[in-house]
Symmetry: C2
Amino acid sequence: MMVLVTYDVETTTLAGKRRLRQVAKSCLNCGQRVQNSVFECLVDPVQFKQLKSRLEKIIDPDKDSLRYYMLGNNWKNRVEHVGAKAAYDPEGLLLID
Amino acid sequence: MMVLVTYDVETTTLAGKRRLRQVAKSCLNCGQRVQNSVFECLVDPVQFKQLKSRLEKIIDPDKDSLRYYMLGNNWKNRVEHVGAKAAYDPEGLLLID
């Protein structure tokens, strides 16, 4: 199933930027980054549980907001895109780290 | 039906910040801001068409990315939240404008 992960963090701090990189890294194992803090992850229920567990260890629950949207299996009919395509390079992210 | 609107813009520029405020303002007419650039809009098909038309006039399609996720009517079962709750004040946003 497709799960959309949206993540809100204060990226003006170094620690916030670091958490965003770590969230991105975890999501990129199972999907792609479609916007700066929006990730589309293709997971089965076990993988979703593992992903949640990883993400919830990374975030600061007092400062960050993490939302999951279950788009199911017929997710392609649920998504529409307008404007620029993001070109996020996971390798680039690792290099900055 | 619930439509999730996610918007990616370079907010380091004043023009980008302005576009984000305008997108937020349009989305707030039909829903709420759940993260900095994530909006949950409750619309019927006609309202969705109007919302899209408004948003697509605001954004810069060469620079900004806008995505719509159709969550349907049983959207409450599709959403999970972890961490801090965002407290976005639409009036505050208007005042900064």
